[in-house]
Amino acid sequence: MNNAALELASEAGERVFRPAPTDSPLAMQELTVSYGEKPAVFSIDATVPAESMTAIIGPNGAGKSTLLKAALGIVPRLSGRVMVFGAPLAQVMHRIAYVPQRASVDWDFPTRVIDVVLMGLYRELGLLHLVRHHHRERAIACLERVGMADFADRQIGQLSGGQQQRVFLARALAQNAELYLLDEPFAGVDAATEKAIIDVLKSLKAEKRTVVCVHHDLATVTDYFDHVLLINVRKIAEGPVATTFTAENLQKTYGGRLATAHIDQLKLPAA
């Protein structure tokens, strides 16, 4: 169907999915999620470009984390479609790595840092294979990348917030995926950790992998990302940071909650 026909069809009330570009690592079409009867995410279309660093941005309660979880099948979708590398989610799970919010787990769980990273290898190990020396070495190498190799034998409850976040990232690295989805990786971490994490993410991009972050710090968007998705329950704007991360779009996304004076101080892309 060409575009004109699609529009006619959708005006007639038919549910039509526009074909997603098959090369996109993550494409969402009319994705809607609701808790109870109030939609948390409403009819969002988005196409994440391959090998990009994409930020999902919006105010508190805008549905950023929910969007990510729905894309991964962690929360059920009310309607819409998610395609990962042009295929349904279930077929391509092994090409995705997910870094949940730090606060989503109990850090008093009886497990050590190295065990958490090894969890990233469970998919590969299956039910029966034993954890061998080379698995352990791979886990240590992932900890090395986030600067945590010395902490391998610590109980996870002894870590600072930033260190916890690094361990989660190391676990995702162990999955050796092509698409990395991170939920607020910079929330409440110290400056050194923020630097360590962004360095790893940039190296992932350099390795031709795709990174998508739920992000809350508007001040760092232009430095860290090249693509943005602005949402507030609905999609406000999507596109390259240079053309999309504008004062006008931010005002639309945040409404009155973001004072104009604050926007003026942001490092916006040169128009």
């Binding site: 979880k69 991964l72 099948g73 962690i74 279930a90 799970m93 092994h94 995705i96 790595a97 997910y98 949940p100 989503s104 787990v105 109990d106 769980f109 009886p110 497990t111 050590r112 065990d115 958490v116 969890m119 469970y122 998919r123 190990l125 039910l127 029966l128 109980q155 409850g157 600072s160 676990r171 999955q175 989805l181 110290d190 050194a192």
Partner: protein
């Protein structure tokens, strides 16, 4: 009696007692390891609802078997009935928790009491029935080994072994679901199915444990071993192993104890044995035990007082805190009249000096490794190398003597 106990422990107290002890050990292992994931998933109480929900099934199965001409004593038949009603109870809890605005604890309370109440009504009716062999049906409440048949023991042993194998097979996905369900989903694990498998396992252990420990106490066999194991280790695989061992040992010792004297109930004795193990662990476990925590806290307090006291000496301030005075006197850093000794003055000067070194070091090295380890108690020598400290001293200038 001691020799009776020894006989029982060595499986010499007769065929039946040996059978019961082995069955109880296997059941304990299965319950301890199966209960580990229930505990780690923070759903321990669901097992209580499941256990209580078995009772109506026992009653209905008995009535059905009697109606069809049996005497109602067939154990597999009774267990099948209890499994069916336990799954209904479980489904009811899950339905209430997910589809209504009631929380899971309310759902558990409601389901548990309603199913149990209904079961008791059925048992009462059964007592008035003229046909069937009712005696011993109440033993499902508190468990009994009297009149246990070889085939009953085989059911328990086989079921226990199967449950242990099941736990070993699914330990990885279950650990992942318990620790981080979101990540588990994103790794391709079906969390709902894994939760179902876990509850199925709990139900199986409950059902095969019914005859031995009874439905009221079987929950203790599921929960006490993992809680005990947690006190000893910080690793999931070891919690699993220790819980299995604690469960197996309590089952074995409890069964042997109850066989060593007439009229000692098996289930309650097993539970008391595992509780004794829990109590010992709670008090004496090295990391998480109560005594270890007390000792750690006291040591820390004394170190803080020692440092505060030394800094006060260095600044020439009077010390009023009695604990600080005691600490300093005990190390002969001050005399009885609170005047600093030679040694005390030297140490005070060093403490003050270290404090200044720390202040400068935290300016110079702004990384986490240095400033993160500053708590006023960590000696600077353990964080910085000797040449680094020398450099800091050079910048601080010569030390000032304490008056």
């Amino acid at each position: 009696m001691p020799s009776l106990l020894l006989d029982a422990l060595l499986l010499q107290a007769g065929y039946n007692a040996a059978l019961v002890a082995l069955g109880a050990a296997l059941l304990g292992m299965a319950a301890g390891s199966g209960g580990t994931f229930l505990f780690l998933r923070k759903r321990a109480l669901v097992s209580d609802a499941v256990a209580h929900a078995t009772l109506p099934g026992v009653g209905i199965a008995f009535i059905v078997m009697v109606v069809f001409g049996g005497d109602g004593r067939n154990l597999p038949g009774l267990l099948l009935g209890s499994a069916v009603s336990a799954s209904l109870g479980l489904l009811a809890v899950q339905w209430i928790a997910s589809r209504t605005r009631l929380a899971e604890d309310a759902a558990i309370g409601a389901v548990l009491s309603v199913f149990f109440g209904f079961g008791i009504v059925l048992l009462t009716i059964i007592q008035t029935m003229s046909s069937g062999y009712q005696a011993g049906l109440e033993s499902f409440l508190l468990g009994s080994t009297a009149g246990m048949l070889f085939q009953d023991a085989v059911v328990i042993a086989l079921g226990g072994a199967l449950a242990v194998a099941f736990v070993l097979l699914l330990r990885r996905p279950m650990t992942l679901v318990a620790f981080d369900a979101g990540f588990a989903t994103a790794s391709g694990i079906n969390v709902r199915r894994m939760d179902l498998a876990m509850m199925g396992l709990v139900m199986a252990v409950t059902v095969i444990g019914l005859k031995l420990v009874g439905l009221i106490l079987v929950v203790a066999m599921l929960i006490i071993p993992p809680v005990t194991a947690r006190l000893w280790t910080e690793r999931t695989d070891r919690v699993l192993l220790i819980a299995g061992a604690v469960g197996g040992f309590s089952g074995y010792l409890g069964a042997a104890l109850s066989a060593s004297a007439p009229n000692l109930p098996t289930g309650p004795i097993i539970v008391l044995v595992s509780f004794a193990l829990f109590l010992l662990s709670l008090l004496f476990a090295p990391g998480r035990g109560v005594l270890a925590a007390l000792v750690r806290h006291r040591r820390f307090q004394l170190r803080v007082h020692r440092r505060q006291g030394l800094l006060a000496l260095a600044h020439g301030e009077a010390i009023f805190d009695p604990l600080t005075l005691t600490v300093l006197r005990r190390e002969r850093l001050i005399r009885q009249d609170a005047v600093a000794t030679e040694e005390g003055r030297a140490l005070a000067a060093k403490t003050l000096r270290d404090e200044k070194r720390w202040a400068l070091a935290r300016q110079v090295y702004q990384d986490e490794a240095v400033s993160g380890s500053y708590d006023g108690l960590t000696p600077i020598e353990s964080v910085l190398t000797r040449d680094e400290i020398a450099e800091i001293d050079r910048r601080l200038g010569p030390p000032a003597p304490v008056a």
